[in-house]
């Protein structure tokens, strides 16, 4: 396999509704931003495209990926769509990585969008919940916040994670977003604000949940030769990993923890895993990505992470499944400020999904774009402020998952120039 580099990215501002742009013009805006960053790269150099969007119900346009391809002027080159719920953008990065690593393309464009404003929030929740078993789960009035809330409640029971600790994730990520002009939901909040914002599904409140958004993001991946001829700020895709778990949370086993390189099998005696408190798919994804990247201890070898925080509880769960702290310590990890900007391992310095918004098909790409700019040292150039720049960042991680941790992707990125 060939080395693959992330060379440029672009993102639109995420908003509740963008009626002035349809999915094609949104992708075009993000694409132009990315291409503007690498003027030596021409559209003719792009070998293929992977298009990422979650729901045909939101888009109400089948084969929208093909229409993006023609709008960008990239016909007759190959294009395909990938889909995997909240992991859709992460899967698109992996698919583009595979295209370049295999030699099928020297340059692959990964682009994604979601147009969630086309339906009401209530209908949007229904559409998202169709990504749960329609025989057994969806008809119960199931909506995704409820599924994550049940995971959070079990985590509270198992590990003692508290609602205030979850609220701290919201405070942190909305607060980081204040310095990100692309973000939909910048806010300076307190734990009290989060707890008082209205329950959606106990213990999750409105401010524990990410928003419905319109938006697009793109990432451009290249082989080594192309990369070093067009950019002085290359970022290597150092490791990719993915995992799965059952769609129904009810079906998940209660077995043993899968240890990461810095853990021993005996570390979690008596913990029945993953149950519904943790996410085995994330663990699998991290394990594979760390193995490829040569990471022995993620706590020491990562400078920041962009984690999937569609819900505050999901970020805390991801700290543990990705091995950034031990199982059960996710709550204190955020409480002690270790995931804050300036902490040991800043998590979601961009503002994450909570702060930036969550246009599903664009989300995983948006996370990769912000991680790229971090590693290039270009946060000031793109965001207009140095506030979110993690100083000296050399290696970062991007994580996304879909379903209730049903599909998961982890990508490790490293500064190469």
């Amino acid at each position: 396999m060939r080395d693959v580099y992330l060379v440029a990215g672009g993102v639109t501002r995420f908003a509740r509704a963008q009626p002035r742009m349809d999915f094609r013009t949104m992708v075009k805006e993000a694409y132009d931003l990315a291409m503007g960053d690498v003027p030596e790269l021409k559209p003719k150099d792009i070998g293929m495209t992977v298009c990422s969007y979650f729901s045909d119900h939101f888009t109400r346009q089948l084969m929208a990926g093909a229409m993006v391809q023609d709008y960008l002027g990239l016909c007759p080159k190959p294009s395909r769509r990938v889909e995997g719920g909240g992991a859709t953008g992460g899967l698109a990065i992996h698919s583009a990585y595979e295209a370049v690593a295999s030699g099928r393309a020297d340059v692959c464009l990964a682009c994604g969008f979601e147009t969630m404003s086309r339906v009401s929030t209530r209908k949007g929740n229904e559409i998202i919940a169709l990504a749960s078993d329609t025989n057994f789960d969806y008809p119960l009035g199931g909506f995704y916040t409820a599924y994550y809330a049940m995971m959070a409640v079990r985590r509270m029971h198992e590990f003692g994670t508290t609602a205030d600790q979850m609220a701290l994730v919201s405070v942190k990520n909305h607060g980081n977003a204040v310095h990100n002009p692309f973000a939909q939901a910048p806010a300076r909040l307190t734990v009290e604000d989060v707890r008082a914002s209205g329950l959606i599904a106990w213990p999750l409140t409105r401010l524990d949940c990410s928003l419905m958004s319109d938006g697009a993001a793109v990432a451009i991946l290249c082989d080594r030769e192309t990369t070093f001829s067009i950019t002085d700020h290359p970022v290597l895709v150092k490791g990719v990993g993915a995992g799965t778990d059952t769609m129904r949370m009810a079906d998940r086993p209660r077995g043993r923890v899968i240890p990461l390189p810095h853990e021993r099998a005996g570390d979690y005696r008596g913990l029945r895993y993953p149950g519904v408190h943790s996410c085995r798919a994330d663990r699998m994804a991290a394990k594979a990505a760390y193995a490829q990247a040569g990471i022995r201890d993620p706590r020491e070898e990562l400078d920041f992470a962009e984690l999937y925080d569609a819900y505050t509880s999901a970020e805390i769960q991801a700290y543990e499944d990705l091995g950034l702290c031990r199982y059960g310590e996710g709550g204190s990890f955020v409480e002690e400020g270790r995931s804050a900007l300036g902490g040991d391992l800043p998590v979601n310095p961009s503002g994450g999904l909570l702060g930036c918004g969550h246009p599903i098909g664009a989300t995983g790409l948006m996370q990769a774009v912000f991680a790229l700019w971090q590693l290039q040292g270009k946060m000031k150039e793109h965001l207009g402020s140095r506030r979110l720049q993690v100083r000296g960042a050399r290696r970062g991680l991007v994580h996304s998952h879909g379903g209730t941790g049903t599909y998961s992707t982890v990508t490790v990125l490293e500064r190469a120039g």
């Binding site: 109400r60 329609t134 025989n135 057994f136 009035g141 599904a201 106990w202 949370m249 009810a250 079906d251």
Partner: protein, 144 residues
């Protein structure tokens, strides 16, 4: 002669488009479960090969791939986890665990107030008198 200019700077025109589909949704291999609900039975499946018992039925075993057999779940279990949803009227969702069964079952919990649901709480299955052949034909109530 001056050419007519295309209109620019106008607000986007937004129309409402209706979309409706009636799906013919077959429960297929899960059908015996829904027939069971209409008879006041809660059916799980078990693998005779590896012995795993599924509270939410799976026609084929997730471990060994063999076809499973139906069995009657106990009607009493405990709350493994729960939430209260605040959509219009608040309602509780619970994942129920059963003694001797390896996986869980998602259902609604009726008859408990806000703040009264707890992990480990004993609950019992009840069935709608007029089944609608939906997963909501069964619900749980606090035991005793």
């Amino acid at each position: 002669m001056k050419k007519a200019q295309p209109p620019s700077g106008i607000d986007p025109i937004i129309i409402k488009d209706h979309h409706e589909i009636d799906y013919l949704h077959s429960y297929a291999q899960d059908s015996p479960f829904f027939a069971g609900l209409s008879q006041g039975r809660l059916l799980g499946t078990e693998c005779k090969g590896c012995g795993i018992r599924y509270a939410t039925p799976r026609r084929h075993c997730m471990e060994c791939g063999k076809e499973t057999a139906w069995f009657d779940l106990p009607l009493a279990g405990r709350v493994h986890t729960w939430t209260t949803c605040y959509l219009e009227e608040p309602f509780h969702l619970v994942l129920v665990e059963f003694r001797g069964v390896d996986t869980l079952f998602l259902s609604r919990l009726v008859g408990a107030g806000e703040g009264e649901v707890k992990v480990g709480m004993r609950v019992r299955a009840q069935f709608l008198k007029k089944p609608k052949f939906r997963a909501t034909d069964v619900y749980f109530v606090p035991e005793g």
